[in-house]
Symmetry: C2
Subunit: 348 residues, 2 copies
């Protein structure tokens, strides 16, 4: 399995063509997914291994992506830490957001084997379902991103509570980020033990701060997660590639490569060739088509795919969207993207 196209690209080894997968590839844009969701809630899907397995495999069967990603949610660890989380259609909501030092102290670092067993069981079932066809990616939310949900109570436009905590009470912020980092690390380690062959750390909201604060908060704690992973006993036998994805990475390119990850995720707002020049050749890059570009015609999608392949080069590039696929996307346009990547990146 270590020689699979996707894993070779993560390690910057030669590939016969550029591998492709898509963030949120198991999701609402897919009729087969919506059929499953019609009979089960989002949280049921996350917590029922058979259902998580079913929807994880759907896009592999449908489009032949080069990697599967565990169907789950970055917020899945929060209930195990002691927070109430609901997942209505409008977006996740935390019952009692973290606003005090006491609330931070009350949070626990969960033991994934005891408190997140359904996720680990889903991984084992998916692995059997995949039967070696493509590698399975596990994931978790990065500490700063998890902090934003925990303190805002959901999504946010301006992140006032996040910034009150980071800048008004930095000691409390560091205490919370430390707990979130340990939670992230033990959860990812458990996922690797359960069988995932790569992990992605999602810093979806790592891009809301100044470059100095990026070093002090999101990057510092993502680094800590990566260090804890690399120093864990599991890593001695299963040193899987680590992807670190910051949505809105353009302002931080001088520091991004110092995360210690094998692969850096690149959102669509920045040229991937520009990112390559700034981060150097020590890491692979993953990205970076605008999810909204899938609303374009198949011909235009192909043109945009060709442009990204040209900018990225073939070594150390995993094709992906720059963020999750939008629910309104036409699956046939996803197919046009996959076909274009396969055809245009193939070296004869």
């Amino acid at each position: 399995m270590s020689e699979h196209l996707f894993l070779r690209a993560c390690r910057r080894q030669p590939v016969e063509r550029t591998p492709i997968w898509m963030m949120r590839q198991a999701g609402r844009y897919l009729p087969a997914y919506r059929a499953v969701r019609a009979r089960a809630s989002f949280l049921d899907l996350c917590r029922t291994p058979e259902l998580a397995c079913e929807v994880t495999l759907q896009p592999i069967d449908e489009f032949g992506f080069d990697a599967a990603i565990l169907f789950s949610d970055i917020l899945i660890t929060l209930p195990a830490m002691g927070l109430d989380v609901a997942f209505p259609e409008a977006g996740p909501k935390i019952g009692t957001p973290i606003r005090t030092a006491a609330a931070i102290d009350a949070l626990r670092v969960p033991d994934p084997d005891l408190e997140l067993p359904s996720t680990l069981e889903a991984i084992r079932q998916i692995k059997r379902g995949l039967a070696g066809r493509v590698p399975l990616i596990g994931f978790a939310g990065a500490p700063l991103t998890m902090l934003t949900y925990a303190v805002e109570g959901g999504g946010s436009k301006d992140y006032p509570n996040t910034k009150k905590l980071l800048y008004g009470s930095p000691d409390q912020a560091h205490t919370l980020l430390d707990k979130l980092a340990r939670t992230c690390a033990v959860f990812l380690e458990a996922q690797v033990r359960a069988g995932v062959e790569c992990v992605q750390i999602f810093d979806s909201w790592g891009g809301i701060v100044s470059p100095g604060d990026f070093r002090e908060y999101p990057l510092r704690y993502a680094k800590r997660v990566i260090e804890m992973l690399r120093e864990s006993p599991t890593w001695q036998t299963s040193p899987v590639p680590i992807i670190y994805f910051v949505n809105g990475c353009a302002p931080y390119l001088d520091d991004y490569a110092s995360s210690g990850a094998d692969v850096l995720g690149v959102d669509w707002r920045v040229g991937i060739d520009h990112v390559r020049r700034r981060v150097g050749d020590g890491v692979a890059l993953q990205g970076n088509l605008d999810p909204g570009a899938l609303f374009a015609s198949p011909a235009e999608i192909r043109t945009r795919v060709a442009d990204i392949l040209e900018r990225a080069g073939q070594i150390g590039h995993i094709f992906n969207l720059g963020h999750g696929v939008l629910p309104e996307t036409d699956p046939e346009h996803v197919r046009a993207m996959v076909t274009a990547v396969r055809e245009l990146s193939a070296r004869t």
Copy 2:
């Protein structure tokens, strides 16, 4: 008036200290503003010259900012174009968002003198109220940003309708952007005739696209607005400085300076020294403290102000936040920022 500190900084002329104003400085963080809002709706404030004048002057009297900015809203032109707009606390809502070519064709380019007279009258009253103390900045929403509101019907997280229009129906998108650009240009020209001494073009959501799409959509139409302004009869007698502000400008720095603006707004996510290196010395820069950094202690605010002043240099720098001040901000922390800028930037 042309020799005021703020206007000299806009033109990269020598200054005795760095001027400062603050986006949304007339706003909810200020008790005096909330007192006015307790007796009038947001839209009433925008449309009643006496009230718009009153709240515009409040932060000048309170903190001694070096420029006043007209109290209004970027969406104020949409009703004059033919759209219904409401301003509830949760954010603006468009009654019937633009989703068809027919809806685009039905939009009108308004005559500001006939259809936005209260804004122009507010400018005349504010000018009398300021009595030459500081210059008055007028503003309008940039075409792409106005398009996002018109087609999404309000704020958005992923801008699916915007991207469907831009990438799925580019001809329609260009037709709409052309109307929005003409509306923006005639409105800004009318504001200059009414007396504003500077104009800012707000591309709050210009940062949601790839670098290639930035050139094709937000930048192209901001450029067109600026060209129309510079070619207008008004400009022969009143060539006021033009500020172009893209929230999330970091990915576009190779192209940003080509907008034709005198001043480029810089949001807080990127180092202002990095922006200066990339855009060259032909423009002034405005920014770029994180609005959330005002939650820090006054001592920490002073440290952050010093850092930005050091990175920006004194020539061609207007101190500002990187986006609008947050409503939860303590006015005394705003005062700490203003004091720090005045003291630390003064050259003896």
